[in-house]
Symmetry: C2
Subunit: 323 residues, 2 copies
């Protein structure tokens, strides 16, 4: 494939374009500041950071599952709602504490399957569901989950702090399978023992506490380049990525892989002198990691390989979330 075409496909991927409404929401809400506690960071990150006046901060996030997946596989909806929420906390170097949910369902069978999925998720990750709200009489099925976590204030991994000159590192659990419900989901957890899963998703806590990265984010629906783009957008920087350096599971189409939500996948930025140690910690936890590029001050995300170079995002023209 032509690299210009690949760049356009990544830019116009639905996982990226669905992020657009965030800026409108933020601009409506941002006028109100808390009367009761200091909010250090909010919409631009995987989780908001709340100062509670101690050495720890509380992390707080919410996520939901795409409607079409809810109807296709209620079990997966429940299960993956845990995965994505736990990732919001672990990606920031935090320990997840507890979750709450709001479930809407008209049909008992779907409800039970969603709940079994949630139960299997919380068993796997060891994070309890402590409350919630049930709509037993809606004409649709939906699931929203919120999570809180805790982290040392000086070890939190934010996404708005990448600096020109930093290297870009991606890390994925390559031992996975494309999900049954979407070509863009990658299951790395449902078939593994809880011990292995918990060790892998807690790797970011070690990296945060060792202060090895300047920024980081879990790779979610926008895929690898889309997530790097969101990180660069809120950091007000650009990046240049060598596509040949991105690890890709054998037999998987490369463009598909770049669009996948890898479940256990992170993009981080680091000072060059910390890159090796950072990669080593990922690899010791069973997660494949590689330096794939560099942060610059261009406000452009470009990708290159032997055949040439192309711009995926140009924030001078248009943002991903607009935050």
């Amino acid at each position: 494939m032509n690299i210009e075409e690949l760049a356009a496909n990544l830019r116009n991927f639905e996982g990226v374009t669905r992020k657009k409404p965030i800026a409108d929401i933020v601009s409506i809400f941002e006028t109100v500041r808390s009367e009761y506690g200091e909010v250090i960071d909010d919409f631009g990150d995987d989780a908001a950071i709340i100062d509670i006046g101690t050495d720890d901060v509380i992390l707080f996030a919410a996520d939901a599952i795409w409607g079409r997946i809810v109807n296709k596989s209620p079990w997966w909806t429940g299960y993956t709602s845990v995965v994505v929420n736990v990732n919001d906390i672990s990606a920031m170097g935090g320990r997840p504490l507890a979750m709450v949910n709001v479930m809407a369902s008209s049909d008992l069978e779907s409800t039970e399957e969603i709940m079994k999925g949630i139960r299997d998720g919380i068993s796997k990750f060891g994070v309890p569901m402590v409350g919630g709200h049930m709509h037993p009489d809606t004409p649709y099925n939906s699931l929203a989950v919120a999570i809180i976590g805790i982290a040392k204030k000086d070890s939190v991994i934010r996404s708005d702090s990448a600096k020109p000159g930093d290297v870009v590192i991606v890390a994925y659990d390559m031992d996975g399978r494309v999900g049954k419900n979407s070509p863009y989901s990658w299951d790395t957890t449902s078939f593994k023992d809880a011990d292995v899963v918990r060790e892998r998703f807690m790797v970011m806590q070690e990296i945060g506490e060792k202060k090895l990265v300047t920024a980081g984010k879990d790779i979610s629906n926008p895929g690898t380049i889309g997530t790097l783009g969101m990180l660069c957008e809120v950091s007000r920087v650009g990046a240049s990525v060598d596509l040949s350096k991105i690890p890709c599971p054998e037999g998987l189409d490369f463009e598909q892989w770049l669009k996948i939500y890898p479940a256990t996948g992170y993009v981080v930025t680091a000072k060059a002198e910390h890159a090796d140690e950072c990669v080593e910690i990922f690899e010791n936890a069973g997660i494949k990691a590689a330096v794939i590029g560099e942060i610059n001050d261009s406000q452009v995300i470009d990708v290159y390989n032997d055949s040439g170079k192309a711009v995926v995002f140009d924030f001078k023209e248009s943002g991903i979330t607009g935050i």
Copy 2:
């Protein structure tokens, strides 16, 4: 109205019967305990209580708005989602810290109205919205909001700690209006200054810190007797209520009032010697309060007046939530 008929109407009120599915959810989830922090209390209360190893605990809750209201009044949906979540924290004697939301909408006009409602709610209560998730392409409108708060560990007002011999106190902001969208909603905040609203909803923090109550809960969709019933159910006690002692706004039908979600309304239990001081604190904050009955060990909630006595709930036969 015949008192037996009133008791039956309160028992079979939709605001009560919709609480039924909670027990099924809890029984599926309760097998999993946290690996990362101690959960002191979960589903039975307005908010879960999470121990973070300091003198403070984190309170964590989620709520959503009935589907039919979302379509009738998107503004009210957004506004009241803030009210109900803030109440979950304030009812336990906590300070609200921050909220996150998951919004689903197919239509831009509804989305904007919901967001304006949220914005007006967060301006009124001073609690920021710090994150969330937006589904811009669903065939329905829905809104789920989660909230965190903080409270001193020894001052939290739980709902599972009422004891036989305690008195039952109800407290309402009588300066309100029946909502436009439901005969069972009571708006006490949208037309008042933020200062007044914030002083009133923080009254439970003072009551908690002075340790004047043994248990408490905000009166929500199940109405006054339904909410008292839920408190008694998780406390494993009964209660006897003198209907003539319940304050009712002038000109409002009494049965309707008993079913109303009063927005700023609480049911608390207290040792008899603390009842007067407790009522006084409510009244000083502009909230009408009265002793309306007594907790006993019967596991039955009965109501009486001049015309007789009738059982509303008998937990030996059937629970409200079944928790």
